[in-house]
């Protein structure tokens, strides 16, 4: 059959190329929605707000108030509620250096997936 008339081989080749390129384009469109989903899911899964909230309450409120910073009640509140409601182990301590006016704060947050450590120093 092919021997009888070879003239249309160019047309057939172009036809193949175009159809393959359409399939690859369709594949890309097919995957595009899934990309949006996985991005949004990983953003939701990352505990950005939890860490910022914990950091905020500790650095902005507790570390600036010696009564709060030395209160075991507040510390146990934060640890117990974090573990129970956020599945996160948190720890923190306020410390000072001799002959240094700065306040230092160690923060630790771990929810099994995300681990966050910080040593913060006051200005």
């Amino acid at each position: 059959m092919a021997r009888l008339n070879d003239d249309a081989q160019w047309i057939i080749l172009m036809g193949f190329l175009i159809s393959f390129s359409f399939f690859f384009l369709a594949l890309i469109i097919n995957q595009s929605t899934v990309v949006g989903q996985t991005t949004a899911e990983s953003i939701i899964e990352f505990p950005k707000n939890d860490i910022r909230d914990f950091r905020g309450i500790f650095i902005d409120v507790i570390a600036k108030n010696t009564t709060l910073a030395n209160s075991p009640t507040i510390q146990n509140d934060l640890k117990s509620i974090s573990l129970n409601r956020k599945n996160a182990v948190v720890n923190f301590s306020v410390w000072y250096k001799p002959n240094d006016a700065h306040t230092y704060v160690d923060l630790y947050y771990n929810n099994g997936v995300t681990l966050y450590n910080e040593t913060w120093a006051s200005l």
Partner: protein
């Protein structure tokens, strides 16, 4: 000899057609899961951010010596459910157009029962009851509260405010 090469074009054609069919079948099978905008969680992500920002605003005092709105709500003898509801709905549902958004919420707080490590949660405010149909996201905020509850009297306590919010 020349005549025996006549099958090459047919072979290539066969392979190409086979590849096309396999690719088509793959695309058809993988295209059966149709994603809608809600499935992609992009709106959830945005809703969660609105909620976190709102609680952050409500827990920001006007200056260093006053209490924040959230602290004032909790320092009332009976937790000021109405004030929380009004402020939260006003902050979340405001839009730049005239029409308001339709965000609803239920809020509860969690404290630790002193002494020990048990916790207690109770609802203190809601705009509508949560039935089973809503697709809610959770936002949380730590608040330092001074009131007589959860086993202590007149001592500062850390309380976790949790809000479930959804769009109707």
């Amino acid at each position: 000899m020349v005549n025996r090469e006549g099958g090459q074009l047919f072979t290539i054609e066969g392979i190409a057609a086979g590849l096309l069919m396999i690719l088509t079948a793959y695309l058809v099978v993988s295209a059966t899961s149709v994603y809608t905008a809600g499935d992609t969680h992009i709106s959830d992500m945005q809703l969660e951010q609105i909620g976190s920002d709102t609680l952050k605003i409500m827990d920001t005092p006007e200056n260093r010596t006053t209490q924040s709105d959230l602290q004032m709500i909790f320092s009332k003898p009976i937790i000021d459910e109405e004030k929380f509801k009004t402020n939260f709905l006003a902050l979340t549902n405001n839009t730049t157009s005239k029409a308001n958004d339709h965000i609803n919420f239920t809020a509860n707080y969690t404290c630790r029962i002193y002494p020990g490590n048990d916790i207690a949660s109770s609802q203190f405010s809601h705009s509508r009851n949560l039935t089973s149909g809503e697709h809610a996201v959770r936002v949380t905020k730590w608040v330092i509260v001074n009131r007589s509850f959860c086993g202590t009297t007149g001592e500062d306590r850390a309380v976790l405010v949790e809000v479930l919010m959804w769009r109707d």
